[in-house]
Symmetry: C2
Subunit: 165 residues, 2 copies
């Protein structure tokens, strides 16, 4: 994936000042993190899967994953592509049974909630990471540590500050 770096979902946290959930993506093998502000239902959808919550009925992203599978397609990967006018953009790349690749415009939150359900890899644009990822000097451990680190940072910024430059 030229121009992209593989990322993993490090966790979901909560920005106390904006009262909005954040999903933290971590660049694989690095101490760089990309925070993305997302909606409450999507945060819940990601967390549920990360915590392996067993639910009696399919939630919306489970239905989405199930529809893709039943239409003989799969999620090849999801890409977090850019940040424009305070909005993060993503693309879900599907592969059909014929091997055809299809790109679907998505919010990152939906794309990530889908990726964690389908074990699809997530990539973030190198350019986006260069402008918006936060690097830690020392190894970070628990989600609580990183949230604490982010909190100091978040005290000074608002989602509006995350503008593409």
């Amino acid at each position: 994936m030229q121009g992209y770096e593989k990322v993993n979902v490090y966790g979901v946290s909560f920005d106390v000042s904006s009262k909005q959930p954040i999903v933290l993506l971590r660049v694989e093998g690095q101490n760089r993190f990309l925070p993305i502000w997302i909606g409450h239902p999507e945060a819940a959808a990601i967390l549920m899967k990360l915590q392996n919550a067993e639910l009696p009925r399919p939630m919306t992203h489970d239905l989405l994953a199930s529809v893709i599978g039943q239409l003989s397609a799969s999620v090849a990967r999801v890409l977090v592509t850019e940040l424009r006018d305070n909005t993060f953009y993503a693309v879900v790349q599907l592969e059909t049974e014929k091997g055809e690749e299809i790109k679907v415009d998505s919010r990152p939150s939906d794309a990530i909630a889908l990726a964690v359900r389908t074990d699809a890899p997530i990539f973030a644009s190198s350019q986006l990471l260069d402008s918006n990822a936060i690097e830690f000097d020392q190894e970070v451990g628990e989600i609580e540590d990183i949230v604490k680190e982010f909190r100091d940072f978040l005290d000074e910024v608002s989602p509006e500050d995350f503008q593409a430059t």
Copy 2:
């Protein structure tokens, strides 16, 4: 659709006592209504579409509709099939480009949020309606009227009462 009756989304309301949203389905050409308790995000997803809210980015059910379309399939219809152990069940029936029909298990809320985005017809099981629909003697008009009528009813019942008999 044998054993099913065509219904339309009459509106989304709020059950004050349980603090849970309700979607009201109305049997076509009749004064019979089926209330289904749903989640907040799904209620918002249905309402947004009913109110033709223009949003800059696709919401989760828009993504679902878009994925189905891009995989050359369409939503043939959605069925609200039954109420079992206090839970309403639904099926999304997809049609592939080859004319193949595929059934996907869904919560009614997701199925309805998808139907209103794809102009797919909604059907409810006659048996389910016989047990759980509420009939009004006189013509009902505005959503406010029916909500008021429902409120009297809802004061006496809880979602747990909506059990299949």
